[in-house]
């Protein structure tokens, strides 16, 4: 349990650092570390496959692409557009409203009884695969079609327009 609290503290700490750091590249790097702590959480829950996949896809691919774009744009504190005081005030008010709603909803909801994992081996790859391909086959396939659609859309947008060229 102490391990959990320590790792949870780390994830919250790095998540906050992601938001408050001025340099966008630092921001992305803190986000990478945050994802790394998520992987540790998965391992603590005995979900090795999820941990490794989170590691490969989020840290190894998606964040690399984020970093890639930021490095090419070369944004820094000087190039940050200055927003008017009015916009900033709006942001503060909206954020406060969101916090109030969150607090209120937590107060209304009863805390659920602690979740008991029926099968502690559920996170291992064999069991996960069986669950995905037997019980949740339809949602699984539909989400894969969704991803494919997104990919086709991206390729289409990225293609050169033949009429103009």
């Amino acid at each position: 349990m102490t391990v959990f609290y320590f790792v949870a503290f780390l994830s919250l700490f790095f998540a906050v650092m992601t938001i408050i750091s001025k340099n966008p590249v630092h921001s992305v790097l803190y986000l990478v570390v945050t994802f790394f702590t998520f992987s540790i959480h998965y391992i603590l829950l005995n979900a090795q496959f999820l941990a490794v996949v989170n590691f490969i896809i989020y840290m190894g691919a998606i964040m690399v692409l984020f970093l890639f774009v930021l490095m090419l744009l070369n944004m820094n504190e000087d190039s940050e557009p200055l927003k008017s005081i009015f916009v900033k005030a709006m942001g503060v008010i909206a954020g406060m409203c969101f916090i109030i709603i969150l607090a209120a909803s937590f107060k209304v909801l009863q805390t659920s009884p602690p979740l008991e994992i029926i099968n502690p081996e559920i996170g291992l790859v064999g069991n996960l695969g069986k669950v995905l391909f037997k019980e949740f086959l339809l949602p699984f396939e539909i989400s894969s079609i969704l991803l494919l659609t997104a990919m086709v859309g991206a390729v289409l947008l990225g293609k050169k327009d033949k009429k103009k060229a």
Partner: protein, 345 residues
């Protein structure tokens, strides 16, 4: 966790680490010797007999050189770059099974640091992390050639990771396991090696391994004719040394991985027909495994001094338009073969 277990793993980790570093060190010498052989020269032969002390001299020189951090560089990230590169290179070898179990007295010692249930994916994760070292180093140098090198490295590694992952999927369909220990244990003898079941998959994996380790013909991130030194243009002293060293360690780890998952790892022909005791089989197996690894390292060098470098668009075309469709076809073919085998044999 008992005390003896911790000691055992600790010793194993130290041994694997030392072997990794020694092999990486002597790969630098071997590379120059192989280059000399290919080009009909002698190669380094001044330091010690056959130049055997050359890596030590190089290492000493790297340590004592003046270290320069450019004024415009981002200092913490500039230092973090090579650190990450060497760390990610070293931790990859943790899941590779170096041999079968040794029996010492009544203790059974597994010659593998960690038998992770998803071992093969762990290596992928580590490889994916390796690109951060290059990217951070290139960006933090504040030099446009370094940045170009870093951007090339990132896009190259992401493109080839896809094809590599797809080639592994076909392999996993055959082995039915993600644990490297089990994958190697299945390939007993000679006819069970995965290379016979997955020749196309191996070819794709091999090409991707070259791309992931930034070796010729895929060494565009450090292409000296276009980018001065690529991502490590601004680096000097041991930081440059660490970048070069991490390349050789990566080469060693990927050779070990290829030998383990496609060429049987520690298995050798007729291993149970010679009437040897289990411990002797293990010891010979470890030697056989290292011979396979060294053969692969030689192959990496052979390619380096044989083929010219790709152009960048050729690299992307090969990755996206050739290797990925081939890998997908390989998955489909493997599936068909498995079903046919189940039906008729």
């Amino acid at each position: 966790m008992e005390f003896a277990f911790i000691i055992e793993k600790f010793i194993l980790i130290i041994v694997v680490f030392v072997i990794t570093l020694v092999i990486a060190m002597y790969s630098t010498l071997a590379e120059r010797k192989v280059a000399g052989f290919m080009q009909d020269r002698l190669g380094p032969d001044r330091a010690g007999i056959f130049g055997i002390l050359q890596p030590l001299c190089d290492g000493g020189k790297f340590f004592f050189k003046e270290e320069i951090i450019p004024a415009g560089a981002h200092r913490p990230l500039f230092i973090l770059g090579p650190t990450l590169a060497i760390i990610t290179a070293c931790i990859g070898s943790a899941v590779i099974p170096w041999g079968q179990a040794l029996t010492i007295g009544d203790r059974v010692v597994e010659l593998q640091v960690a038998d992770v249930n998803v071992g093969i994916l762990y290596i992928f994760g580590v490889v994916a992390l390796g690109v951060y070292g290059i990217m951070l180093g290139g960006w933090a140098s504040n030099n446009k050639f370094s940045l170009m090198g870093a951007v090339r490295a990132a896009s190259q590694s992401i493109s080839y990771e896809l094809a590599m992952g797809l080639s592994i999927i076909a392999l996993l369909m055959v082995t039915q396991s993600l644990s490297l220990k089990e994958i190697v244990a299945q390939q007993e003898g000679f006819v069970n090696w995965n290379i016979w079941a997955q020749p196309l998959g191996f070819l794709i994996f091999l090409i991707c391994a070259f791309a992931e380790t930034n070796r010729v013909p895929f060494d565009l991130p450090e292409c000296e004719t276009e980018l001065v030194g690529g991502y490590h243009t601004e680096y000097s002293s041991m930081k440059l040394g660490l970048y070069m060293f991490s390349e050789y360690i990566n080469m060693f780890v990927s050779s070990a991985l290829m030998a383990a998952i496609y060429f049987g790892g520690y298995n050798f022909p007729f291993m149970y027909d010679l009437g040897l005791s289990a411990n002797w089989i293990t010891i010979i197996g470890v030697f056989v495994f290292f011979i396979k690894i060294i053969a692969f390292i030689f192959f990496f060098m052979w390619i380096r001094w044989t083929l010219p470098r790709f152009r960048y668009d050729q690299l992307m075309n090969l990755g996206w338009k050739m290797l990925i469709p081939l890998a997908l076809a390989n998955i489909a073919l493997t599936g068909v073969f498995i079903i046919l085998k189940d039906k008729f044999f």
